[in-house]
Amino acid sequence: MRAHRTIEIGTGLFVLLGFAALVFLTTQLPSSGLKLGGPKAGYHVTAEFDNIGDLKTGSPVTMAGVRVGEVESIRFDPQSYKAVVGLRIDPQYNQIPEDSFAAIQTQGLLGGKYIGISPGGTDTYLKDGSHIDQTQSAIVLESLINKFFANYASSNPGSGSGSGSSSGKSGDSQEEPKK
């Protein structure tokens, strides 16, 4: 009887531990999984972006590098052809100016995308249902490279000498001052 009891307690502990581990791995680890504890507190704001890169739901929202919330939803608006991103901001950060600026930034070189908010200057604050008007899209590396090569070609004295509006200031002197 005594031995049976220890075996049953041991099995119960093992099964409980195993299921706890599985529940943690299925619900807490994937961002798309169910979250325990219901919806998190906070208020919701939206922002429209031309291009969100590989931003995902659950990506952090930061101000000055500090996490203040997370991306809650991403959908495509067929009227404006823009991505509408829903953000959830933690309730203690309730003094973010309404004309703040939201930009999609990258953690490190290969890291994930996150939204960085830089504060604006008004006295009215973002509240539930507000909309952030000023946004900056994700920087797509390929278009940046394309732009660089286009600029390089146009400022190169050999090929595009006529239309150097950006390089016009330094256009008279040759290449030396640029370097």
Partner: protein, 255 residues
Amino acid sequence: MSNGSGSGPITEALRRSGAVVIFLFKLLWQCIPSLARPRLIVMQIYNAGARSLIIIMLSGFFVGAVLALQGYTLLQRFGSEEALGTAAALGLLRELGPVVTALLFAGRAGTALTSEIGLMRATDQLTAMEIMAVNPMRYVAAPRFLGGVIAMPLLAGVFNLVGLFGAQAIGVWQMGVDKGSFWSQMQSAVDFRDTWEGISKSLVFGVTCSLIAVHEGYNSEPTAAGVGLATTRTVVASSVLILLLDYILTAAFLD
């Protein structure tokens, strides 16, 4: 060995795999009535699962730790140490967790099953049961099989969890990766599919390991040498099959 018709190694291998498949169906058929005796199954979950917990947790910790160590030195070359959490989590969940758990399970619990049932066979306990009209498939083989099948995914889950904390111990505390981005990048990169892949793999491995262990014990030669040989075969066959099935399952989950 006993069948007279000139059996080369190929026919012998065919016969053996056929016997395993037939044994599986007999076993599955006996699993249903053996559910009426949950105490027997609980006993086997304890033997196969709870008593393997320490070795699983220890190995999980060190596998996670070495994954973090290797991953860190590799990712550092590309200046993206923050992706360490992602690398460790995906490596553990999809591959190392189920595979290493199954290999350890074959060595720790599979051998115990084979030698136990083999000794029952060698000391005529199984025959005695049959004489008493007790079906040994139902009361000896099926509970051990079910216990192994239930224990394996739970062990793999514990292995993964401990492995993640092992990776954190090395990556965050020793190498100085930021804890927040370690976990948040892991969460944004791990999909429900990845977890599901790991769980279904460990289920398949649980069925494979338990089936082979029970089959080898049940059909071992009733001698001391025969039980030893059956135990060896359990470990060899389980390990090779685990790695083979792992490849097939990974390929199946790719798209």
